[in-house]
């Protein structure tokens, strides 16, 4: 089985990699690029800890995505969310509201929620539930996680409104 040379842009960095077609995006991110923030869970698409975002901000299950299918494309992982070493609104909300416990599911939840904030900034409770239902959490019972996402929706909406009136 021959390896293929692919280009993958991860968090804005361009990588040229030789990968076997059988390699998943999750394996390449973690084993080859050593970005271990994205976790490896069920490896079959049902637990969500492997979630990354594509260029459109969609939540993508990296464990069931072939790396070769992503040649020339761009993804964001949890390592690429904080800016200048500072937590973003969503991460800040998780921290302040106590939505992090053991931390294994946290990257997957952050990327799932980030996708929601990008694609449905006016998300209601149903949309929040929908965005998170693909990801598992065993410690928090999802309670504070949902509150944190709702808080982030609010904070971002408030900021947009502010800038709107000032703009």
């Amino acid at each position: 089985m021959n390896k293929r040379l692919i280009t993958l842009i991860v968090n804005g960095d361009r990588h040229e990699l030789a990968v076997a077609p059988t390699r998943t995006l999750n394996q390449v991110i973690r084993d080859d690029l050593r970005l271990t923030g994205t976790k490896r869970g069920c490896t079959s698409g049902s637990c969500g800890v492997c979630t990354v975002n594509d260029e459109g901000g969609r939540a993508i299950l990296s464990c069931i995505t072939l790396a070769v299918e992503w040649d020339g494309r761009s993804i964001t992982t949890v390592e690429g969310v904080a800016e200048d070493g500072k937590l973003q609104d969503l991460q800040q909300a998780f921290l302040e509201l106590g939505a992090v416990q053991c931390g294994v599911c946290t990257p997957g939840l952050i990327m799932s929620a980030r996708s929601l904030l990008i694609r449905k900034p006016d998300a209601d409770e149903r949309a929040i539930n929908e965005a998170l239902a693909g990801a598992i959490c065993r410690c928090t019972g999802h309670i504070k996680v949902k509150k944190a996402v709702a808080r982030a929706v609010q904070v971002i909406a408030d900021r947009e409104r502010e800038h709107g009136t000032q703009g």
Binding site: M1, R4, A20, P21, T22, T24, T43, S44, G45, S46, G48, T51, D54, R58, A59, I60, L61, C63, I64, T65, L66, V68, E69, S112, S115, N129, E130, A131, A133, G134, A135
Partner: protein, 330 residues
């Protein structure tokens, strides 16, 4: 999970994809969203020699709302793109709800409509890792002549669980399939077979390219029962379409899925409603005769008896909901 090795092919057109599929002589699989295929390959339930990647083919993307009220959806359109398409929810609300109920957002971001229609059937004796399956004898799906679910069965009764299927059958949808032999249009109602191991009539060298949904006037409802919302395959799902007034409907179509190896049309129940309308009497009669059209009701996470009861509940709730939407509803 480690995938079995395969040759990766990336055609630059539908014609090229069809040619590759033909050349592979049944040993290739289409890689669209891959959400089911990857899991299946990881378990080594599928071991195609070649994967033909079609996700980036522009000819296979897009939803078109036509002036005659119909809708055309290219088979490689992701379910999220179908859900988000401006105007689709208004034109086909029941179908929109069905698409939105598939798996999770994460899966819908990659899975395609064509993939959902061609979704392999599921059974907990086969949707397992290779080592799991090695612990017991095979079955019809793995080329051994027996069924672990129903010992008396002469064919595979694994469950057909795609959510978009009952909705599209109720809407009289058809699909276009292309092979080296040419193109054919197949009514979705004729697409499925009563065999969990070979659940569709799609030839091994055929590719689904588009889905056509004719316009309709009437009301429709889609319901899905799941252990958990937003992630699971259904324990049962139902699509009901009615046109005409409650007392005397002109058209009734009732399709259920996730109960057996193929979607089932409940014609006896439809007949009861055509005759008696959607009043309580008609609904009771429909519930009573619904079982006549149920084929083999199989288990996946539930006892079969539970599923038979579930159908009647689903039917009643769908009909009651439809009845309430008589005035100006869709």
């Amino acid at each position: 999970m480690h995938l079995p090795s395969f040759e990766y092919l990336k055609p630059d057109s539908v014609a090229a994809a069809v040619r590759m599929l033909g050349e592979a002589d049944g040993r290739a699989a289409i890689l669209a969203g891959g959400t089911d295929l990857m899991a299946s390959m990881g378990q080594r339930l599928s071991k195609p020699e070649r994967l033909i990647s079609i996700r980036d083919l522009p000819e296979l993307q897009g939803v078109t709302l036509l002036a005659d009220g119909s809708v055309r959806i290219a088979a490689g359109t992701t379910l999220t793109d179908v859900v988000d398409h401006d105007g689709l929810a208004a034109r086909l609300p029941m179908f929109h709800k069905a698409v939105r109920s598939v798996a999770s957002v994460h899966v819908r971001n990659m899975a395609t409509l064509g993939g959902n229609l061609a979704l392999p059937t599921r059974c907990w004796y086969t949707n397992q890792t290779e080592t799991w399956r090695n612990a017991r004898a095979g079955c019809f799906k793995t080329d051994v002549e027996q069924c672990h679910v129903l010992a008396s069965s002469h064919r595979c009764v694994a469950t057909s669980s795609a959510d978009t299927v009952p909705a599209l059958i109720a809407l009289n949808a058809s699909i276009t399939a292309v092979s080296r032999r040419g193109e054919r249009k197949i009514p979705l109602a004729d697409f499925y077979r009563d065999d969990g191991a070979v659940p569709t009539i799609l030839d091994k060298d055929e590719l689904i390219t588009s889905i056509q949904v004719p316009g309709f006037t009437g009301r429709s409802v889609f319901l899905k029962v799941t252990p958990r919302e937003g992630i699971d395959f259904g324990l049962g799902n139902i699509a009901v379409l009615v046109s005409g007034p409650n007392e005397r409907p002109a058209v009734v179509r009732i399709i259920v899925n996730s109960l057996g190896p193929h979607p089932m049309r409940l014609r006896a129940a439809e007949a009861a409603l055509l005759e008696q309308g959607l009043a309580d009497q008609g609904i009771d009669m429909a519930m009573k005769v619904a079982r006549q059209d149920l084929g083999e009701v199989t288990n996946l996470w539930t006892p079969a008896g539970y599923k038979r009861r579930l159908v009647r509940t689903l039917l009643r709730r769908a009909l009651v909901e439809l009845r309430e939407t008589e005035v100006g509803g869709r």
